[in-house]
């Protein structure tokens, strides 16, 4: 977490006018304290003496592994479908575009539990598409690891779409126009010009999407249920531990936080920071 501080400081980037304005610094500090204090609370109340024993429990490792795998697969799925969707929303013009954009962001405001119920009604055994899936392919998503991925992707994809769409709208259209005048096809332009141009936005969206998928709870427990090793991700394990053993829940939360911070910090330096 301190890697940026270790870099040689570049004073010319500190800003033009020297002193920082208090009007900005004070709310910034309050905002930061509000975000960081609950984490400090977790650290203070953690049962450090029994920590090692609790971590070694196979159930914890199982839930952690499942969380990392499902969040990563869900993020890949979101990239595969979300980036083209964002491109469509930013570049295409068709009637009802505004409605589509609003609908795409619905999972952001929908309580995740409601999202889970909605997924059940569509992909469940008696759902609109689920019925057909089961009859045609014998595939049933609820209560499976694939169901966890579906629930996480449903909740997390809007984060990616919004980030990428924002980046696409901010990107300078003249580069694409120049490529077009040189005879490049729309696909080539997208691949060789647009995508590299919005890479930071895609990276930011991917990180957000992965983090949201990793913390997903409501849609997962509603749609995929809760079974150790198959659908019990870390947030579900935390919630159930909280029912009887708040201390175990704190340990699980810390593990989830530590792992995600390590991964995000590691990725950040590798492919999020620009040249």
């Amino acid at each position: 977490m301190t890697t940026t501080a270790a870099r040689p400081s570049r004073p010319q980037e500190r800003g033009p006018a020297g002193r920082l304005p208090w009007v900005l610094v004070l709310p910034a500090v309050i905002g930061m304290a509000f975000l960081v204090l609950p984490l400090a609370g977790l650290l203070l109340r953690a049962p450090w003496s029994t920590l090692a024993g609790r971590l070694a429990e196979p159930r914890v490792l199982e839930a952690l592994r499942l969380s990392l795998v499902t969040a990563t697969v869900a993020t890949l799925a979101c990239l595969l479908f979300g980036v083209p969707l964002a491109w469509l929303l930013a570049r295409a013009a068709f009637p009802g575009l505004r409605v589509v954009r609003a609908l795409v962001t619905v999972p952001l405001v929908l309580p995740p539990v409601v999202g889970g119920v909605a997924l059940l009604l569509v992909f469940g055994r008696r759902g609109l598409a689920g019925q057909w899936l089961e009859a045609a392919f014998g595939v049933s998503l609820p209560f499976t690891t694939a169901g966890v991925v579906a629930a996480e992707a449903f909740v997390a994809m809007p984060f990616l779409v919004i980030s990428v769409e924002g980046a696409l709208r901010a990107a300078d259209l003249r580069f694409e126009e120049a490529a077009a005048t040189l005879g490049a096809s729309r696909w080539t332009i997208f691949r060789r010009v647009t995508l590299p141009l919005v890479a930071p936005g895609v990276a930011a969206g991917t990180v957000l999407c992965w983090a949201r998928a990793l913390g997903e709870f409501g849609a997962t427990i509603t749609f995929a249920g809760n079974f150790p090793g198959r659908t019990q991700t870390m947030p579900l394990a935390v919630y159930l531990a909280l029912e009887t053993e708040p201390e175990a829940a704190i340990v699980l939360s810390l593990v989830l936080l530590a792992v995600s911070v390590i991964i995000l910090a590691g990725l950040r330096d590798r492919w999020v920071s620009g040249p």
Partner: protein
């Protein structure tokens, strides 16, 4: 400036999204707090097990009409969660739990005055109305082709299910261990599972959407429901008055009609 800021800027929303995901599962404690009337004097806040939703809502209305000007506010949820919220200082007046173990959490913190058992509940096998897997007894749940939902062992209905299955000497591998009895019942109502073990009262409350099947081992896993006025009740004497109503003849009638047994 922005180039150097970007990596740090990213980590913050990412961490926020993570925490927000965890928090999005809100358990309702804050709702209960927010819905308390500002004066507080004329209101009783009751924390009750999810399986008491129907009966206690009815008793709350009866209490309000018997005590004009008093408002009864409920926080229904898993008994274990409610117990944790009370121990953490949630402003509750009365706690009605679905198991003695969850009441003990509150009593151990010296917060529950004098818990009294007011009802008992038995498990039943719940199946979708058309019973697609043709379940007619507990042994059918051990069939791997029958998709079964159970409550997680951490919550009272799950503990009871384990006891009943142990008594029958059966090993059941459920497809899911749900977080409370209502969530378990929902999976049956939606037809996502073929069978589940839930309380008799939940089957009755579903109004015919699921069918209940009795099984003999249910006797071995009867859940006692204790109720107590809390020692730090902001409503003071009103809290005990609500407990008295639940224990009264009138309370007994409401509970019996919903499928609860007398203690």
């Amino acid at each position: 400036m922005f180039r150097r800021l970007r990596p740090r800027v990213l980590a913050v929303p990412a961490a926020l999204a993570l925490v927000c995901g965890l928090a999005a599962c809100g358990t309702g404690a804050s709702d209960a707090r927010a819905s308390r009337s500002p004066g507080g004097s004329g209101s009783v806040t009751v924390f009750a097990a999810a399986s008491l939703t129907g009966t206690f809502t009815e008793l709350g209305k009866a209490f309000e009409s018997a005590n004009p000007g008093t408002k009864v506010t409920f926080n229904f949820g898993s008994s274990a969660t409610l117990a944790q919220q009370i121990v953490q200082g949630a402003p509750a007046d009365v706690f009605a739990a679905a198991s003695p173990a969850t009441m003990k959490t509150v009593a151990d913190a010296s917060l529950a005055g004098n818990p009294t058992t007011f009802a008992r509940n038995e498990l039943q096998i719940a199946v979708p109305a058309d019973n697609p897997a043709k379940v007619d007894g507990l042994a059918d749940l051990a069939d791997p082709k029958v998709k079964t939902a159970l409550c997680a062992e951490q919550v009272p209905c799950g503990a009871a299910a384990v006891k009943a299955l142990d008594a029958a000497g059966l090993k059941v591998t459920p497809v899911t261990l749900e977080q409370d009895v209502k969530a378990t019942l929902t999976k049956v109502e939606l037809g996502e599972v073929d069978a589940a073990l839930v309380y008799r009262t939940d089957v009755l409350a579903s109004g015919g959407k699921v069918k209940g099947i009795d099984f003999p081992e249910a006797d071995k896993a009867v859940n006692d429901y204790p109720i107590a006025a809390l020692t730090k009740a902001p409503a003071g004497a009103q809290a005990q008055r609500f407990v008295d109503l639940v224990l009264s003849r009138q309370g007994r009638d409401v509970l019996t009609r919903a499928g609860f047994e007398a203690p």
